[in-house]
């Protein structure tokens, strides 16, 4: 596949953009990374994703694919003969992976994001409670899905690992900003071990932003909340 045949419109700091980047790395698919400037949207982005106008957008030839988890499944379906499968083969396990990926986006990440914006102590306490509940669910999900292996997807990282793992850099930035350990080895030992393994994966390392760089960026885009 020619390099120019696969393009990804995105940005280095976006956890959603990380998802297809990891997937493309897993499948050894070369691609051109077209970075958007923060605060503005390119003509190409607006043309390729007229409905949501958001990154990431995968361009395969001239065909756009939008929505990060959908792009990851598309990559898995399209380059099915390269690299290990990113979803389990059993339909029930696949349904579990999709269920938890959706939960992560709709509940867990929403709670994480609100932590950075949370103002007073009451608000912070509520967010902490939400995240603790979410982490407990995910710890159990990890045990159920991994079946003793290092990743949600088994021996190799896959769809659900990517869906959650993409947020680990932002999680670290949030922990530093609010001085609170969100992912606690004492409370979620399996998830914590998984996080370490995920970050060390060769498909992940090149695209995981450095915590310091991300923390600087976060200061710019999340103004200090009013206490």
């Amino acid at each position: 596949m020619a390099r120019s045949d696969v393009k990804l419109i995105g940005a280095w700091a976006s956890p959603f953009v990380m998802r297809p980047r990891i997937a493309l790395n897993l499948k050894s698919v070369p691609y051109e990374f077209l970075q958007e400037t923060f605060g503005s949207k390119s003509e190409l982005l607006l043309k390729s994703n007229p409905v949501h106008k958001k990154i990431p957008v995968l361009l395969h030839g001239d065909k756009p694919v939008c929505e990060s988890n959908i792009i990851v499944e598309y990559i898995d379906d399209t380059w099915s003969s390269s690299g290990p499968s990113m979803l389990p083969s059993d339909p029930y396990d696949r349904a579990m992976a999709r269920f938890w990926a959706a939960y992560i986006d709709e509940k867990w990440f929403v709670a994480l994001k609100s932590f950075l914006k949370a103002g007073g102590e009451e608000e912070k306490k509520a967010v902490i409670a939400q995240l603790e509940e979410g982490n407990a669910f995910l710890e159990k999900a990890f045990i159920d899905c991994s079946k003793g292996k290092p990743f949600f997807n088994g021996d190799n990282i896959g769809y659900l690992d990517i869906a959650l793992g993409c947020f680990l850099a932002w999680l670290r930035v949030t922990e530093l900003a609010v001085s609170h350990k969100i992912l606690d080895e004492a409370k979620t030992p399996s998830l914590s071990k998984w996080a370490e393994n995920f970050c060390n994966d060769p498909a992940v390392k090149p695209v995981m932003p450095e915590t310091a760089k991300l923390a600087e960026f976060a200061k710019k885009i999340f103004p200090k909340p009013q206490a």
């Binding site: 694919v65 339909p91 269920f99």
Partner: protein, 218 residues
Amino acid sequence: MADEVILLDFWPSPFGVRARIALREKGVEFEYREENLRDKSPLLLQMNPVYKKIPVLIHNGKPVCESMNVVQYIDEVWSDKNPILPSDPYQRAQARFWVDFVDTKLFEPADKIWQTKGEEQETAKKEYIEALKTLESELGDKPYFGGDTFGFVDIAMTGYYSWFEASEKLANFSIEPECPTLMASAKRCLQRESVVKSLHDSEKILAFAYKIRKIYCV
């Protein structure tokens, strides 16, 4: 060994109906169990501890939750008949994208249409119609979102189609003049055997909607 398939559901639910349609498209025998959402069964709470919502498909004792996730599961398990998702990876990605759009952009305004009144309801109507127009534009001149065949996006939309009449009467507006080809596709879907068998008539849904509005004090 025969499959044991149970569906925990609530009769007017636009989400529950999606699961019913998918099971009937595949000719799967299932046990329908009506949930009282004001007094949820221990089984529902046990099978869906995260959201505590219907529909929940319980297949040989194992639960699958979230309506379109259930539909995808049904398609993958009973893959020998009436495919719901296309086989081409790009077409599959498109189908998933539009289902995500349906559930992100229609859900809130649809709820607000029957839960609110006055300006809030007017805003909800505008948002709802705008989203439907985007969908109509995607539909184009195809009989179904799936092309010639009833598929994933059509099943997602049929949940909302089943509430069109109730929404129109509650909020005093008409969808057909705004989205004529979408309405034509909706009518086609609502006549499908698996859909007819899965839906209660619109009079009953409307009566239910009026009852719920009283509870919301609207």
